[in-house]
Symmetry: C2
Subunit: 331 residues, 2 copies
């Protein structure tokens, strides 16, 4: 029988994040480290703007910890762009050993888990996980360029313009500890609507939660906060339903980063935020700071990712998804 | 100062590979586990054929070790397709915890290194690294569909149709040991010719070799075989030159998987093979079996990857590259 839960003994040294205009205008706006007023970050393409956000997020995390590039042993980075080019170009100048990862929107969870494994086992002393997404680069790559003005369906989500960087060290390095991880399995329940990522991802998230609750002997009430990456309103609602059928009722302690990011009533974001940058920025700007302040003690985070490509959808395939779990604890 | 060499204590339990028609017709043809006569692997798109190769390679590796999916703790997988869809669809049915990785053509090196870290530290008992590339899916994604009949330049390489799977366990599990790893750094020396990947990658490979030789106190003569992933004839020649300038002369013990894969004189492959599947299939079908037989004792493998996307090239950016190093030893 394969192993499930990975015991971890790491902590967050610091984090950094950068977001766009709409994210700054949302409920968490004032909490972000830096934002840009036109989402261009001084660059002439959306793709370069996305790379620039990664560079900024990394530099902010390092500055908070008073560390330089040469103090970092490795980076785990990824994004939604073809060939993960947002990361390779964004982190080009830093000359830090680099592991490219791809978990679609779950990349923040995958990166934090892998970085924490490295810190736990002292393979690296200080390691960074970075991810990003940009609304304009993602829309033209996965759906249509925003200039096209395509109609958005009620279940569609708004790809977050943002990047988050997590600087991770051993368990003594920071206040918020990373105690466990569980990698997801790729699961496809036949959803093929590229405008309903929440429905495609919910079953994979459910699979990870069920394996975790069973192996850990815990249930949803044992956590102050249970938060998924970017299921949005639609996916979070489906997850509640299928978890209940499986015997685990989520209470008010459950929410989703895509729900927290935007004000649904006023920001026209339909089913909520999504993208590699969604959970990365909400974790680094809201969840972890609240844990540092002692307002949240135990957080179960499951990063959600839809592992299709635009080509696979056009070729009639359905959408495989994955959920990577990480457990955070504050003293 | 950041850490460089990662000490490993793992071994290969088994490997599996699947290749296309042209690869079977090459010098290593008879050594591959399985090949397809029309590169379609029974599927109706090139992308699905690529996924099918991953499924086959994984199943062959498991069969050789007499193991089932449930005996495997995790998979590290990646490929060249947008959103790494070759891997997520190819490995969909196996229900093994999944880490998506992206290192362009260096993905086999990255995957073997990460899997070996997990086995060394007993985070997982048995872990698989899988990668693939397909000539027809890669050409239409990165350059032009093969039906277009585009003229190929002398420095262009031939993307290998193939997939390799590596089943990795602790140091007692197999004859060929994995003793060390060193992750590459993303380096861009300004090459922007998408038909000359070798020139773009050689400086990044050189960076990894120089850091490794310095830290380990070894030189090229200390290894029976030094092999790069897919520099091809052009890149390997550049690497020899710049390594010599840096004080390390590569002798006859240096070659490249892209050179070994095809017969340059008869197969019209110009500067040699390339792709995620190139080093994965040459390692699993040639290098590791020769090490098992005792014909090669110490192999230094540096997987080479060009981290651009077709969009970044069109937007005028140059090509960042990376080289991931892994050291193999046989008794």
């Amino acid at each position: 029988m394969s192993k499930g839960i990975i015991k971890l003994n790491a902590s967050f040294i610091s984090t950094g994040n950068a977001v766009g205009k709409k994210e700054f205008e949302g409920p968490l706006g004032e909490r972000f480290d830096i934002h840009d007023t036109d989402d261009r970050f001084g660059k002439n393409t959306w793709e370069k703007a996305e790379s620039e956000m990664q560079r900024l997020a990394l530099n902010i995390a390092l500055k908070k910890a008073n560390l330089a590039f040469e103090d970092i042993d490795a980076i785990f980075a990824g994004d939604l762009l073809n060939q993960c080019a947002g990361s390779s170009y964004g982190l080009l100048g830093c000359m830090i050993p680099y592991f490219g990862i791809y978990g679609a929107c779950s990349t923040a969870g995958e990166g934090i888990m892998l970085a924490s494994i490295m810190a736990t086992h002292k393979i690296f002393d200080r390691v960074v996980a970075v991810t990003s997404s940009h609304n304009c680069s993602a829309e033209r790559q996965f759906r249509t360029p925003i200039e096209y003005g395509g109609q958005r369906t009620p279940t569609s989500q708004w790809t977050v313009t943002g990047s988050g960087a997590f600087l991770i060290g051993d368990s003594d390095a920071g206040k918020v500890k990373i105690k466990a991880g569980m990698p997801g399995r790729v699961i496809d329940k036949g959803v093929n609507d590229a405008n309903n990522m929440g429905a495609a991802m919910a079953p994979a998230i459910c699979d990870t939660f069920l394996r975790y609750f069973k192996e850990s002997g815990t249930d949803p009430n044992d956590y102050d906060l249970i938060i998924t990456g970017d299921l949005g309103y639609e996916g979070a609602s489906i997850l509640r339903d299928i978890m209940k059928i499986e015997g685990h009722t989520f209470g008010d302690n459950y929410t989703d980063c895509g729900i927290l990011m935007f004000d649904q009533a006023t920001q026209d974001t339909h089913a909520g935020g999504s993208g590699c940058g969604c959970s990365a920025t909400v974790l680094s700007a809201y969840v972890l700071p609240e844990m540092e302040k002692g307002n949240i003690k135990r957080t179960l985070f499951v990063a959600s990712g839809a592992m299709m490509s635009p080509d696979s959808i056009k070729q009639g395939e359905s959408i495989p998804a994955i959920g990577h779990l990480v457990l955070f604890e504050a003293e």
